[in-house]
Symmetry: C2
Subunit: 225 residues, 2 copies
DNA sequence: ACAACACTTCAGCATGGACTTAACTATCAT
DNA sequence: ATGATAGTTAAGTCCATGCTGAAGTGTTGT
């Protein structure tokens, strides 16, 4: 029993692996490369560490093409990491923000597309309006969808020419549902920011919703803030 | 923020420190030497590790004479350790006991005296019956108490001749209250075992209460099992 | 006063495991 | 097919950090 505990503790005790867990706590499922960037180490190294975490059952993997998406295997893992984080010695206790996690979990960017509650709700709305379809974990734009994006001010043909993935589902940990990644997800976020529906906050990946955004999100996607 | 998390994780990630935390989770406050025995390492080494845990605010110390009693600084620490323990990969899930901690937390020996719920209740009963007094964290036997112990079959004069501490309070983590240690605590436990009120279990520090014990504990100390 | 005990500090050592370099497989794009 | 990208595997290096031995302080008991 106790030797099992020691192994588990040592697993999370390593700086690199601790950073991996910390990163995954923030939200979505990450690819190995994304994690290697996030924790600032080599791909080989990340691969080794992920294998250990995987072996211990703390993470699970979902393979999508040549990518592998890593995320917590269950909510107990997230709880444990959060419990550990709660032990961080408090400096300037009067300056600490009342709710540390909530703004990020509620509405944040996932690298360059929209995740969190809003991101998930947006994806659901697009699916419901038949603007996109979910074909076995692959998103596709419908003929009506092409017109809709055009009306919204996004030229899908331009996006397809880019060298990056066009449209893909991206699992969100905190919401347990897919949201929209790829160039389509990125340009949706981009458009909403240029229209001043949303604003980036300086230091974090969290996003603020403007008054205008609140109205427009309700109108276009029936999203209630 | 994340570097703070890394430090905290690394703190618990070391095998020896993990064992310390695991041991402290079990119940009472331990002395440095007790811990060095429990985790099977040298006193110097324990001292160094305890200093680190202390510095990080995970533990607190209470000095009593030449002893130093270490325990968790607050319940969040216990929660975090338990959350970590919950991540231990389950082998033979059908064989796992329904409630791992409860028997130990409920009634266990603290080396050779009685701790846990029963130990605390016993101490409270003795205090309430004015058999012992709590004088600023020091227990003392009253004149009536001397007679009571004699009737109970314990000769306090013999105990005082022993080379060990006679009577001292011993903080119990799980109950947050004092129970009785020292030779008095030990002989109370001893007497109850020879009278077959209690029985030792083979492998653990947990104690079983017999049917006779259940009645007698109620009669003598108004303890309801 | 003395010895025994509880605990700490500081030196040097030693080892485990993280990281690197390198080579390999698999998938995707053109 | 070819190159680019995502990820893994293997062997070897190296450094951080835990551990030991020796010596110290402070407390207890006789």
């Amino acid at each position: 029993m106790e030797d099992q505990f020691i192994k588990t503790a040592a697993l999370i005790g390593d700086p690199t692996r601790a950073l991996i867990m910390w990163t995954l706590l923030d939200g979505k499922a990450f690819t190995a490369t994304e994690l290697s960037i996030a924790v600032n180490t080599s791909p080989q190294n990340i691969s080794m560490h992920l294998a250990k975490l995987l072996d211990a059952g703390l993470l699970v993997v979902e393979k999508q093409g040549r990518h592998k998406y890593y995320r917590f295997s269950n909510k107990d893992v997230a709880y444990a990491i959060e419990a550990l984080a709660s032990l961080i010695p408090k400096v300037n206790p009067q300056k600490s923000k009342p709710e540390m996690h909530s703004p990020i979990k509620h509405c944040r960017t996932c690298y360059d597309h929209l995740a969190g509650k809003i991101g998930v709700a947006l994806a659901e709305s697009l699916l419901e309006q038949k603007i996109i379809l979910d074909l076995d974990h692959k998103f596709e734009v419908t003929p009506e969808g092409i017109k809709w994006f055009s009306d919204f001010g996004i030229n899908l043909e331009d996006l397809k020419k880019q060298r990056r993935l066009f449209l893909k589902p991206c699992l969100d940990w905190s919401e347990r549902k897919n949201h929209i990644a790829g160039s389509v997800g990125a340009s949706l976020l981009d458009k909403m920011i240029t229209e001043d529906w949303l604003r980036r906050t300086k230091d974090s990946r969290a996003i603020q919703i403007t008054g205008k955004g609140e109205k427009e999100l309700l109108k276009y996607f029936k999203i209630v803030i």
